[in-house]
Amino acid sequence: MIEVNIESKAFGSTPVLGPIRFGVRAGETVALTGPSGIGKSTVLRILAGIDEQFEGTITRPDEVAFVFQEPTLLPWRSVLKNILVPHPRLTPQQGHEALKSVGLEDKAEFFPNQLSLGQQRRLSLARAFARTPELLIMDEPFVSLDAETADEMMRLTEKLIVAHQPAALFVTHDRREAERLADRVILLEHKPTGAEIARDGNEVTAAEIDGVGPG
């Protein structure tokens, strides 16, 4: 079980997040949405342990995977090394299997800049799932992809989520992404003391998600 219990978070004297509390169960996929610049990515970074400057507590498992908005690969290491370097306990065989799960098995010795953006995103997904994460965090993972590639990535993500059953939290501004992937939607709204949860559950409507606009 993942527990987020943020009391507050500020950048300097500017409050960014107010009280935000929610949990994500194993096997559950939650979409986090809200207006642009409200602090959704900050919530993800706090949950992942990247940002530790906040008031509150986080309960998270050991195995955390993060799919960043950009593929965030090591351009100077081969495709296979991009799986094995962050996961040194994996054997090369397991690395190849992770690549196979996203259809990159024949690109193992390529460098990332020899891949298309879609392939780089798939590599980033393979890296995230290579060690069966208990918590999967994704920051707008399908943004800036053409419709066809985004659809293919979503299909792949669905398949991997079903296979590995992590607790998953992802940021999105897209109603279709939320409807397709999420079991539950959390909507953030601006408050003077920082962002707070406006709605949490299945009842967040498509119109509310559309209302936040692209970010």
């Binding site: 992942a48 342990g49 962050p86 390529f110 800049n113």
Partner: protein, 249 residues
């Protein structure tokens, strides 16, 4: 393409011709010998073993000073680039050392430590560390924060982070610092040898300076220039190419 390859050769031939013209006009081998007059002297020094022993002494000093300056400068630059607080404290020191003439540091090291090998190497190292640190600091400031976050999320061990995330990003800066480092260090080593050592190319140049033997000064100077050109072609350029391999793949 052919012309582009010929240009540096033609340019060097031009320099050589200029030397020949100057030597002919001077018409005094004691002041400026003709290029071909250096050949027999070079063979004489190489044959007696004198050239090699002094060359080796200088190379060892260059290697020590280079290794120390690169290691300390890289560490200092990395820390200063990553921590604004440390940078605020150490930046004024860096400015002071950057503006301290090499000669002052050399003289002070000899006065404080004595005319020893350690003093010579420390003097050269201290001269170069600030330059390396400044270059590496720029590299450290340009490190990709997203890659840092990625390394943190996947709990990459420190050594692995350094090897796979930090150093590949710093490599072009390290290569630049190394290249300018080698060029500057060997020149300072010669000064250090000139002032307070009894071996090395700098010592020999000092000796022949006192004897007013321009030809021998040139023989020793050119021998070491050749060594440094070999270092450039055989070590530095291949290293630079290897750090760029992924960009051109």
């Amino acid at each position: 393409m052919q012309a582009a390859r010929l240009t540096p050769l033609l340019s060097l031939a031009g320099l050589l011709s200029l030397w020949v013209v100057a030597a002919v006009l001077t018409d005094d081998a004691q002041i400026l010998p003709k290029p071909w007059q250096l050949g027999p002297l070079f063979l004489q020094e190489a044959g007696s073993g004198e050239l090699w022993s002094h060359l080796l002494a200088t190379i060892i000093r260059v290697l020590w000073a280079f290794g120390l300056a690169m290691t300390l400068g890289t560490l200092l630059g990395l820390i200063m680039g990553r921590s604004p607080r440390t940078n605020a404290w150490l930046d004024p020191w860096l400015v002071v050392f950057l503006n301290l003439p090499a000669l002052v540091l050399i003289v002070l090291c000899y006065l404080w430590i004595g005319l020893t090998e350690a003093a010579a190497i420390i003097a050269v190292t201290l001269n170069k560390v600030p330059n390396v640190a400044v270059v590496i600091r720029e590299g450290a400031r340009a490190l990709d924060p997203d890659l840092d976050a990625m390394a943190q999320v996947y709990k990459m061990p420190w050594l692995s982070r350094m090897r796979h995330v930090i150093f590949p990003q710093l490599a072009p800066f390290i290569a630049a610092a190394a290249r300018s480092g080698v060029a500057v260090i060997w020149k300072i080593v010669l000064v250090v040898e000139f002032l307070g050592r009894s071996s090395g190319i700098g010592f020999q140049i000092h000796l022949y300076f006192q004897l007013f033997d321009v030809a021998m000064v040139l023989v020793y100077a050119f021998s070491f220039i050749c060594v440094m050109l070999l270092v450039e072609w055989l070590l530095l350029q291949p290293f630079e190419r290897s750090t760029r391999r992924w960009r051109t793949a």
